[in-house]
Amino acid sequence: MMNDKNSQKIVDIIQNWARKHSIWVLAYGTGCGAIEIPPTMTSRYDAERLGVRGAATPRQADVLLITGYLTVKTMKRVIRVYEQMQDPKYVIGFGSCTINGGMYYDSYNTIKVLDKYLPVDVYINGCMPRPEAVLSGFAQLQKRIAEGRANGAQQYKDNLEWYRANQKKIIPNWIMPDYNW
């Protein structure tokens, strides 16, 4: 008879294995990076082989792909989308501009450092990242999930106040519902 701790561990492993093989990506092209998503998903690179496919609504999606820069206006929508997503949920920062502003580092309308506002699991560098890079980003995410390190949702919950303060700094007019996550 196994104790609870061990059985939990086995459950976790099975859960992570399952999660790793069904990564549903929310169909929300937030920036120019969205242009390499169709090639990734279609016949040449066929991401569905890896269990990566599109999901129409946040409630069904596992991964929020931040495809590049986020303008302040999109940021607001992205926060809402992220909060609507069900746990487990992951964020992939796609392209240089999610890391340190990219070419828009001096623009008045784009955020520069994504992880100040959302917990990011994996960054894929490039401008534009090639489909191969996108796929290896997903592979990295799968690895992270399998190792049980992809706990962005928990991190977000734990540090909600910090994230909120950062988000509110750039979104002055905060009219947001609280979602039941």
Binding site: S43, R44, Y45, D46, R49, G93, S96, C97, T98, I99, N100, G101, G102, M103, Y105, D106, V113, L114, D115, V120, D121, V122, Y123, I124, N125, G126, C127, P129, R130, P131, E132, A133, L135, S136, G137, A139, Q140, R144, R149
Partner: protein
Amino acid sequence: MSFFDLNGTLKPLTALKQFGKKPHTISYPKESKEAADRYRGLHFNDLDECIGCGNCSTICQNAAIDMIHIEGHDGKKGDSGLRPRVDNGRCCWCALCVEVCPTGSLSLTKDYLYVSEDPDSFLWTPGKDNPEGKEQISFFSTEETSLNVLDRVPMPELEGKERVKSFAEVVLGYNEAEARAEASRCISCGLCTEVCPEHMHIPEYINAIAAGNDADAVRIIYDNNPLPEMCGKVCTRRCEDVCAIASRGEALAIRWLKRYATETAVTADITREIVNPEIREANGKTVGIIGAGPSGLTAAYYLALRGYDVTIYESSAKAGGATMYGIPKYRLPIESLDKQIDYIKSIGVKINFNTKVGKDISFKEIYNKFDAVFMGVGFPDAWSLGVDGEDAKGSMQAFRYLYMINSGDKVDIGDKVIVVGGGNVAIDAARVSRRFGADVTILYRRRVEDMPADWEEIEGAEDEGVHIIPQGIPIKVHKDENGHVKSVEYLKAEMVPDPKGGRPKPVAIEGSNTIIEATAVMAAIGQMGDYSFLEKEFEDKIKIERGRFIVNEKQQTGDPKVFAGGDAVNRTADAISAIADGFRACKAIDEMLSA
């Protein structure tokens, strides 16, 4: 259209044609399509080839490239010691940095995978962090695609045939459009400033010229050089050797640009107006300067600006030292030099001409009269060849010859002149002799490419019809019955490589004696100092070693009150080094006297 359209229903079944065909899919990560040969992926920087000019950093519109110190690259002349570090959180993979890299050390590779969970890991140093990138270079710049302007704006010159008719200045100078075009090639790295003995603010004045602001350029130039027009014409311009653009193309014409800027100030008065220097109130201290050469004039000018009462003692009738008497007027016209000296005098510098220290006034008197003394005495004497028959009439030192010509004297050289030596003095003497109609031959021990003279000068001499006999060692001067030079006998030499790795040595070939006819022979194999003016009592303090004064880094001799500079101190023996000495001495004197 009917409800059921047979054709329209069946045609889409064409998709079934694909059934069983080999898919187009690249099953990444099992297989991966190789990036194209020109793919713009991650950077690679050849750290040894890179000179740290920072042009990549300034072209980057995303401010993605920082210049940082990395271990093992401490920098040297022509290398700032900094290397680019790329922030891939900014980089947009546009490769403009590659296009502007003057050395071509920076390139992009086929590697494009950069996936990480840590957002702080995207700061990296190409070359150091990816040494394997060297094998994957894909996007690089060539001379053809480089965005550096590699070709210099050609300097208009007189034709060789025209030149030999007179002492008119050979180089005509840039006009405004040419100067702007040439100045706009500069990438403002500043590598040149380090090799300039005087550390002139080169990128700043070039940028001022490029921006169309010549007055500012003149002001910047006069900040630490009071004889810039002279430098603009005859400087040895070591700055151009390390120019970043020169790694692939022709160096910026830094010298000609300085010349252009200073020539926009046409007279001494206009110069004064443009430079408008701040002259401090007289502080009552006095400085005596021996020799009105570049070092003496520089020290005098900047001391005068600092409020000192400065007096120069000059043995000749005109100021300028070697630049006045050693350099032929087709390179540096007398009006140009006069203009600069008038300007220096207008600041309040007093010059006593025709006053030879040791004869007309004793060094001791100067020493006692002034609060500080600066000696810029130069090398007034020349080495002789040391061969038989050198005492013949028509055998002379090239340096003396130039001195006499520049003083306005006539020298009889006949119609066949042989100049022995390969330095600038030799070329100058040869070209001057050409202007008096003589047939001139230069005899040099080594090969033409070993000549220490400026390549431009050598080319100019060849254009004017000067013959050069390389690898020839003179052994005897033959005299005619009147005791006049008749011919020169020399031995052919072969170059023997130095086993220690030094430059090859010429070794005479026995029996290869050749005789060429001559009416005059000029030795141009070096100059030396004359320190006879120093009284015995100073010998203990003011030390001389191998023909030069011993000074510290402040140009101070063993006697704290006495400073020295110029040819009589430094080995490079060019005008800009002399100016640097003068400037350093000025600062040291100022420091000492205002303490």
